[in-house]
């Protein structure tokens, strides 16, 4: 009889543990991270690193990740389908906080949940304005912008000039880009930036790879510096609909341009550029995650946290390219590059 009682109490004990664990996990506030691109894409990978720096310390929240894979596949059908899948995932997960990274995540999914009474949205990696998404008048949205860090680019150009034997106090600059939506949206902030004393000659959008090459060769003779951001959407030729491999595009550009080429994206030096200065993806991830944490801890709406601009940037250097062009930078650039493991010697 006593043993029957012990067996019964043991089962009650185990059932109670199970029930408590299930109830506890179901009651945990959910955070969903919606990435526009795939996890292997350098920018996304680094934003995830920034997110993890905060999220890995969380214990009372449940975190799910969803990748829309729109960098590798960007045809209209795929975009439409990935938007539907993402919105379905959000509705099924019903997160308390949705962190949406990059413009496509906003336009294809997150904007449909503006003013949702049970969900707050935090955007990151938005290049232009948030007005197209309705965020400016929403009561449940905040986030961090991804505006190109142009002041450090300007300082780098002037630093390169200062190290030349005969320096130019007013070097000229042009911005060459492909036709991808994120770059087109962010172009105006680069065009309207105060580049003085650098003479900014404007931006040129290349239609395809042959057009890109023609522009590089022409502008290489006309200006001192060319800045590039992305070149992943350059069709190989008129009839060929596939995109040219980005590493080949960048390697060709660095080799054939008479003007010095400076990248303003994370992967430019990996692809072959001499130097790049880009928005810190780590800051994007960390700030977004900290905003989410504030919302959850204080139980406030996202609109109580002001939207903010990005401040941090990363520098990457390819030493061999610098030496090939007989150029130098102040030692602190190399120190920064090495400290963040972005200094390539070959």
């Amino acid at each position: 009889m006593k043993n029957h009682l012990s067996s019964f109490l043991c089962l009650v004990f185990l059932a109670l543990i199970l029930a408590t664990a299930v109830a506890y996990n179901c009651a945990k506030p959910r955070v969903m991270i919606l990435q526009s691109y795939e996890p292997e894409y350098a920018w996304t990978r680094d934003v995830d690193t920034g997110l993890h720096r905060v999220i890995d310390r969380w214990t009372g929240y449940s975190v799910t990740w969803h990748y829309m894979d729109t960098k590798q596949h960007s045809d209209p059908d795929w975009l439409k389908r990935s938007g539907i899948i993402a919105r379905r995932a959000i509705k099924q997960t019903r997160p308390r906080v949705l962190i949406a990274v990059d413009d496509l995540a906003q336009s294809l999914a997150a904007k449909y949940f503006v003013n949702d009474p049970d969900m707050d949205i935090i955007f990151a990696g938005v290049n232009g304005s948030v007005e197209p998404y309705g965020y400016n008048i929403a009561n449940n949205v905040t986030g961090i912008f991804e505006h190109k860090q142009l002041q450090p680019v300007k300082e780098t150009i002037l630093a390169l000039e200062s190290k030349k034997t005969i320096s130019n106090s007013a070097p000229s600059l042009v911005y060459i880009l492909d036709a991808s939506p994120s770059l087109t949206r962010g172009k105006s902030s680069i065009d309207s930036y105060d580049w003085d004393p650098i003479v900014y000659r404007g931006s040129i959008v290349a239609k395809d790879l042959p057009d890109w090459k023609k522009i590089i060769l022409e502008q290489g003779n006309a200006v001192d510096y060319i800045i590039v951001a992305n070149y992943r959407k350059l069709g190989s030729s008129g009839s060929d609909t596939s995109y040219a491999p980005p590493a080949e595009v960048m390697a060709w550009t660095d080799k054939h341009s008479k003007a010095t080429v400076i990248g303003i994206n994370s992967f430019n030096v990996e692809d072959g550029a001499m130097i790049s200065i880009w928005v810190s993806p780590f800051e994007q991830g960390e700030v977004a995650a900290k905003m989410a944490q504030t919302i959850l801890e204080k139980n406030i709406r996202a609109s109580a946290i002001p939207m903010r601009k990005n401040n941090q940037y990363i520098v990457a250097i390819r030493e061999a390219s610098l030496q090939l062009r007989h150029m130098e930078l102040p030692a602190i650039y190399e120190a920064f590059g090495r400290a963040t493991e972005n200094f390539i010697e070959k």
């Binding site: 006593k2 043993n3 009682l5 012990s6 067996s7 109490l9 043991c10 009650v12 004990f13 109670l16 543990i17 664990a21 506890y24 996990n25 945990k28 890995d56 214990t59 009372g60």
Partner: protein
């Protein structure tokens, strides 16, 4: 029928009051600590600790099970990442303990123990004192190479039994107790001097391979050479102890991860003056604490807990300043 009844063993411990305590106390403690404004994670952790202690104190299950259950609860409630909770299974201590226990199993099953006993009986004088010394020093020699008392007992016991079996009945009756006590002293008394009693410290500078890998290499090679068959491998190695060891290492790592070790040290900050002013009395108090802990907690668990607590306090510079460490 009578035989079947006498072989009956209940599935769960026949202690309904203890089961009731195991149900009520953790929840009560959690709500009480929450009422005192303890952080939720800390309250959950301490509730898990209370459940583990109840299980050990009243022997609700085998000693390794509460430790495993504690790990499970840490993971189910998301208090620490799995890489922290399960770190014991990939720790150096776990690898060393497994390898050396395997070695102990090889020694005891290979006939080596019996050959050693026969050699001893042939070599040493045939009197009780000589036999006692032989058994004592056999256990003593195992201290630097075999990390746990269980493993040393596994190796020494066959030697001791063989020796006792070779005595004639009157001598056996007179000396067996003394011999067993000598064996117990040999495997027990000198183990603190060798701390973890890990193998290979002397040879490490020669081959530059870490100690855990050295021990793991030895046991793997012995297994490849067929030193242990599958049945012996399963039966002769104390697997329950391994799971207990890994679970306790993971549990302590979880405590560190949550910052509770610092909290614990801060609670006993007042001991500093006591230790500085009267170290002899402090040692007596420590001995008393150890004895009390041992009365309630199984041996292996008590060793692991007290060693870890000692390590936490050892990290305080104060210990080094007063010359204790």
């Amino acid at each position: 029928m009578a035989t079947q009844t006498s072989n009956y063993r209940p599935l769960v411990a026949d202690k309904p009051l203890v089961w009731l305590m195991a149900i009520i106390v953790p929840f009560a403690l959690f709500f009480y600590l929450s009422h005192l404004d303890f952080a939720r994670d800390t309250a959950i952790f301490l509730a898990i600790v209370s459940l583990t202690l109840i299980s050990w104190m009243f022997s609700l299950t085998a000693d390794f099970i509460p430790a495993l259950l504690a790990l499970l609860l840490l993971l189910l409630f998301g208090l620490v990442p799995s890489r922290v909770a399960l770190s014991g299974f990939s720790s150096d201590g776990f690898l060393i303990a497994f390898s050396v226990m395997g070695l102990g199993a090889v020694i005891s099953t290979s006939g080596l123990a019996r050959r050693y006993t026969l050699w001893l009986l042939k070599t040493i004088p045939a009197n009780t004192f000589a036999y006692q010394a032989a058994v004592f020093f056999t256990g003593f020699l195992l201290n630097p190479v075999v990390p746990t008392i269980t493993a040393r007992a596994v190796i020494t016991a066959p030697i001791l039994n063989n020796m006792v079996d070779h005595l004639d009945p009157p001598a056996r009756e007179k000396s067996s107790t003394l011999l067993y006590l000598s064996g117990l002293d040999g495997i027990n008394l000198l183990s603190p001097i060798f701390l973890t009693a890990a193998l290979g410290i002397v040879t490490a500078p020669l081959h530059k391979i870490s100690i855990p890998l050295v021990t793991f290499t030895i046991i793997c090679f012995l297994l490849v050479l067929g030193a242990l068959d599958r049945k012996t491998f399963i039966e002769k190695i104390d697997w329950a102890f391994f799971f207990l060891l890994a679970a306790m290492i993971g549990f302590m790592a979880s405590m560190n991860y949550m910052g509770l070790d610092k909290l614990l040290v801060a609670q006993f900050d007042g001991f500093k003056d006591f230790m500085r002013l009267d170290f002899e009395k402090f040692v007596l108090v420590l001995t008393l604490v150890t004895l009390v802990v041992r009365m309630f907690i199984p041996l292996n668990s008590a060793i692991l807990i007290l060693v870890k607590l000692g390590a936490i306090y050892a990290s305080i510079p104060f210990w080094r300043n007063i010359g204790v460490l």
